[in-house]
Symmetry: C2
Subunit: 299 residues, 2 copies
């Protein structure tokens, strides 16, 4: 369709519904408490941005989404597991997620731990079921396990949960460095993985993957800055969670830079992100609008 007629919200809605249908197809159907807990959290809503990035990553290089929907759902499983475990009492101790009780509030702590474990495990099963040549699947498995593992997402979460209390808050420049590091690992890592998995499953070349990685890095960081701002300024009901970062006295972009500078930094990151994907003519328009979307959420 012509550029000026493209409606991002309509696109997100349509894609979201399609992905929801596929997620329901792959989710377990039995009545065990773990299967119930897996369904509860995966179907609790969310924009499905990461699965959409898998699809876009593949479509840039000409692969149709139908071949890789299991891989697209895999990253949503992985994202959901990380939310379930992050919400646990020993971690962020959140009671509400997307306006509903968190997994451990609904099913108990042991079921929440195991449901997270099960979603993480199953994400690799789903990824392995993509309908593409096996060498691409093996590459994608390496990407997902790297970016979601102890060098990526888990590292970010550990620094955020365990290490922040130990920081010397008087050393502002070190705090700023560490905060960016946390954000890159907590949020950018899985967005990177999503776009790269899509690209790799479609057989993209290394140089093009680097561009996607840069885009993901920047919009992930910008998203997290916007999230820090939202956490304080948003209507809590609209956001569907309590402002736990503030309650926990965590360091945030807002507390380190102030609102104005934080917003400025987010804008620059988005500009950079757009430059990285200008080459991919067939999806440039959507990727640009998605980049804006990452920081333009209402608050």
């Amino acid at each position: 369709m012509p550029k000026e007629q493209f409606d991002l919200n309509e696109y997100l809605n349509t894609m979201g519904k399609y992905i929801d249908k596929k997620l329901k197809f792959f989710l377990p159907k039995d009545k065990s408490v773990i299967s119930q807990a897996m369904r509860y959290s995966v179907t609790a809503g969310g924009k499905r941005l990461r699965p959409i990035f898998v699809i876009l990553g593949a479509e840039i290089f000409g692969l149709q989404k139908e071949k890789i929907m299991s891989a697209s759902c895999a990253v949503e499983y992985l994202h959901t597991y990380s939310l379930i475990h992050d919400d646990l009492p020993a971690m962020d101790n959140d009671d509400i997620r997307r306006g509903k009780p968190t997994s451990h509030k609904k099913f108990g702590e042991s079921a929440a731990i195991l449901a997270g474990d099960a979603l993480l495990t199953e994400s690799f099963n789903l990824l392995a079921r993509a309908e593409v040549p096996n060498d691409r699947i093996v590459k994608a498995i390496k990407i997902l396990s790297y970016y979601s593992g102890y060098k990526g997402m888990i590292f970010g979460q550990a620094e955020d949960t365990i290490e922040t209390g130990k920081w010397n808050t008087k050393n502002i420049s070190l705090c700023k460095k560490k905060l960016e590091f946390i954000h890159i690992n907590k949020t950018s890592a899985l967005i990177k993985a999503s776009l790269l998995i899509g690209g790799v499953l479609a057989g993209a070349k290394d140089g093009d993957l680097k561009l996607l990685e840069k885009y993901a890095h920047n919009i992930g960081l910008a998203f997290q800055i916007a999230d820090d701002i939202l956490d304080v300024y948003a209507d809590k009901k609209l956001l569907g969670k309590n402002g736990s970062d503030k309650d926990n006295n965590k360091l945030t972009y807002l507390s380190l830079y102030g609102k104005e500078k934080s917003e400025q930094k987010a804008k620059e990151l988005i500009l950079d992100a757009k430059k990285s994907v200008s080459k991919f003519k067939n999806k440039k328009n959507i990727l640009e609008k998605l980049a804006d979307y990452m920081v333009d959420r209402k608050y």
Copy 2:
């Protein structure tokens, strides 16, 4: 070497040391708390039976172990993650494992959850790095995620931790059925996965994989029965853990069948297991001795 000269303990020692060296090679070297916790639990000891089964599964079909050591270590990572999460306060609440403080006692609960997550995630990375054709790796990924997932090991753990309290203990026949089901999923599942992964990486045929699966099913169940007996009769210091099953009033083979019948059942399972692998002449001897070993541990 001739059959009569084969010494299982020497074999286990030699293989254990070789596997320990490889585990250390693959483990993260950095100082983050998660990497420390990963190293702590993986190097805490253990017989490395599951990695040995991966190696044997491959060697039966003529593949040298050097090509698949990352896959062999992958199942030990996966086993270790399951122990860390099972020990958590919300699960079995164990303070001691292999004579040392459990992960959450040593590093705190959030680090233990994340270290478990990291080992689980990394196990798929290691498996993907086996030096065999990619189609075999993809099959192996499917096997590991299936047997360790919500239909396998996690299902067993969930039934054991969450559901046992809800059982009608007057319905002995139902209890017996459920207990066997738990044991098959908690223990046999990962032994099955180990042997099958070895076989699949070596290009074994479906019929031969079925035989390995039967062997694993039987020795895993026998092992768990022996473990139930050990839990009550063993010198607790020798075993390196507290007799938590008894303390938690869990149903066990011992409480349902008594000592004599439990031992009889274990023996029958071992006999059946040996029959299943009689075809694999080059490894028959070790597999038979390993089957005996599963129930002959000192108590």
